[in-house]
Symmetry: C2
């Protein structure tokens, strides 16, 4: 890797300039701003590496997937990224314009620099350095770069299930990763799934005077009672049958968990609390965080919510409820159990509107792609990475990789202070360059497996 690293050293300024050009192009999925231009830029960037590139349409109006293939070999690596970004507002909280990337104090500031353009460019530049200094890639790459991740990839699952041939691979490199607070590279091998529903009730054909609270059914009460039946104040999920399906962490998972530094006091202090819910702490809390499902009221409203008093009896009420799903829960299973539970407990009147779903997905830590990432992190940083068997968040790991039997690993050059989705999104310059080098080690390791 000596010539590879020397090449990287010689091209730092160029690499940063390329990254800045990438981030200077807005590509906001929520509004569509700059999406076609960004898709073209990504297409040209992959083509410059020698890739064959297609723009795949999910619907006539949605952002295309940039799909590139490059390299040769018996082995195939799937890379998943996205070229869209979150909206930049509130603009007034940025210290430099979000789409004029700027380096200050060793950090590159700009919308998308960390999530996810820095990670696309890390990989592009590592591949170029490899091609220039080592030779042909030792495996084939199928690179799948979507453009609506930041709005929940609404068309992705159907597309992936119908186009599995585009996704077949021996391993998948997931969109991004970060260092933890102690500076250790974090690898993640999967993600929780999600079922996101709106529960709603209508108890009357219109709001009534609250004097009728003696006799008339109140949609807000119906909703409160239905919600209460789903989870107890001690945080136990009460949906009939749900917890029976939860796969507990296996010995391999637990072994990984034991190596994760879990700085809970720091996390709690940041949130202004001094304990976790459910009476857990330490290893038990970490295990709960990664391997237990959630049932979260994300929003609730009904009746009069303005200033002061209005004595009204609400005819309608709604709650948005998100369930983070661990293996072996699926959105379909949980939606069915939820309906059955509500019916069985007398809440047939509460409607369920499914707003989104993702299957959970978890990879075998012994898979080549994971072991190659572990070796690359060790080679780059001189210490073992922290390996999360599962992310507590959610991404489309199922339709892209796990549903097709592809193990995945996520790593990259972000860090805890990157302000993802927030003003002053940034990436540290040193981390960015180290990310290119680690990707070089990963190409070597995965090629040698």
């Amino acid at each position: 890797m000596h010539t590879f690293n020397h090449y990287v050293d010689q091209h730092i300024t160029q690499f940063l300039d390329e990254l800045k050009s990438f981030c200077a192009q807005p590509s906001i999925a929520a509004t569509g701003e700059g999406i076609p231009e960004m898709a073209d830029l990504v297409r040209e960037t992959l083509a410059d590496l020698g890739a064959e590139v297609q723009l795949l349409r999910l619907t006539p109006d949605s952002p295309p997937i940039v799909y590139g293939t490059l390299g040769q070999g018996d082995k195939t690596l799937l890379i998943y990224n996205h070229y869209d970004v979150q909206p930049a507002d509130p603009l007034e909280l940025w210290d430099s314009p979000p789409f004029e990337p700027t380096i200050r104090d060793g950090k590159i500031y700009g919308r998308g620099v960390s999530d996810n353009k820095g990670h696309i460019m890390n990989r592009v530049q590592a591949i170029r350095a490899w091609l220039e200094t080592v030779g042909p890639l030792p495996f084939k790459i199928n690179w799948f770069i979507e453009g609506e991740e930041e709005v929940g990839s609404p068309h992705l699952e159907a597309f992936c299930m119908e186009n599995a041939h585009l996704l077949r691979a021996d391993g998948c490199l997931w969109e991004m990763g970060n260092k933890d607070e102690a500076g250790r590279q974090v690898l993640t091998l999967g993600a929780k799934g999600l079922l996101y529903v709106e529960l709603s009730g209508q108890s009357l054909n219109g709001d009534q005077h609250s004097a009728l609270g003696t006799l008339a059914p109140n949609a807000a009460w119906r909703l409160v009672w239905a919600l209460n039946s789903l989870k107890a104040p001690d945080e136990t999920i009460l949906i009939d049958g749900l917890m029976e399906h939860v796969a507990p962490p296996d010995e391999t998972d637990l072994a990984l968990l034991r190596t994760i530094p879990f700085e809970e006091e720091k996390m709690q202090a940041n949130m202004g609390i001094d304990r976790w819910v459910g009476g857990v702490s330490g290893f038990e809390a970490l295990q709960r965080h990664l391997f237990q499902p959630t049932c979260t009221i994300c929003g609730i409203d009904g009746g009069y919510t303005g200033r002061g008093q209005k004595t009204v009896l609400p005819a309608q009420a709604r709650a948005k409820v998100g369930f983070r799903l661990v293996p072996n829960l699926t959105p379909e299973l949980v939606a069915n159990l939820l309906r059955q539970h509500l019916d069985r407990h007398g809440f047939e009147d509460i409607q369920i509107n499914i707003l989104g779903g993702e299957h959970p997905g978890k990879s075998d830590p012994h898979a080549d792609v994971v072991q190659a990432a572990v070796a690359a992190a060790q080679a780059q940083y001189g210490e073992a990475p922290v390996v999360y068997p599962l992310s507590p968040g959610t991404g489309p790991v199922w339709p892209i990789a796990v549903a097709h039997g592809t193990p995945l690993v996520s790593f990259g050059s972000s860090y805890r202070g990157a302000n993802l989705h927030a003003p002053n999104e940034n990436l540290r310059v040193d981390d960015y360059i180290e990310g290119i080098r680690m990707m070089g080690h990963f190409i070597k390791s995965f090629g040698a497996k």
Copy 2:
């Protein structure tokens, strides 16, 4: 009453014109529009009857009370009315402009025509007819006409407690009344009280990503569980100790209840339902409606309530909860029981903000003022009125009358289709004129007691 009735017959056009002038003057307490002009108009109107009139200031900026005294005698009647009205919007739903009173199809349309200006004018015109045709009033009248009833009379209770001398009387004629669907005059002898609170929780120093639902406390869940502890799905109020204080209806109340026609199927059909909550119907439902307290969620909100999904864990949530209070509950008692209950059940984190309170108040059906109203209704309509011992709604009956030992009765010329607080508020012309005649009978009966 022959000359009295003849006088009324001769002055119908004039009476209706006077009512229209009264209603043409906006007097919106919520915005202050027209309040000073209306207070002056009411003052002049009482002065024209020969009353001594003062404008009483509750605060430098709030609508004044118009307080008039007229007549002589050992006996005093207190009359309570209000000259303010609800806002007229949505304006586009009115068939004629709200402040251009119009007679169509035997009804007078205009904001405030029923609530409450038609009732002030009914009484003014009856007193004038009495003075013109019968002679001096057989008792003294203290007339208390406030200007902020439609915004909850925020300054009234303190004023009344400090100025009890203005309110002392042998009986009180309350603001308004109506005929029921069968056309029978309804008398009401009191009103439920109210405690209106906002319950709120803050679980974190800011919203969090919902992936933290495993560990971080969620204000919306805390609120749902706290609310659930207050009332069971069978509608039993669970607040520790509250129901022990509830005074059941006595034999006199029950005797009155038995005479009330309770058209529950019609009420239910209007609301789009086919049963009441709590499994009650018929006499039991009526009893519950008038003599049981309520605990009503009037509004609830927290977290993300926009379109689609946002996977957020809310740091804050709020609910507005109204309690209708029957004898012997008071706002202070219920607020204390609520605080103690929440603390005892582990909800010390839920804050209570008291937004309003009214004591309940109930009169002795045998009181002179009530019996005079019964006799007047019988004389005017040739049948016994329907007597509600208590209204399921709330008004300031306590500070105005009951706290001073004054029995009260409410009657008047409104009806179920009057669209109170709504577009196309109206009063039937025939009811209006009958209301003047009934007031004449009432002056006679109360004077003779």
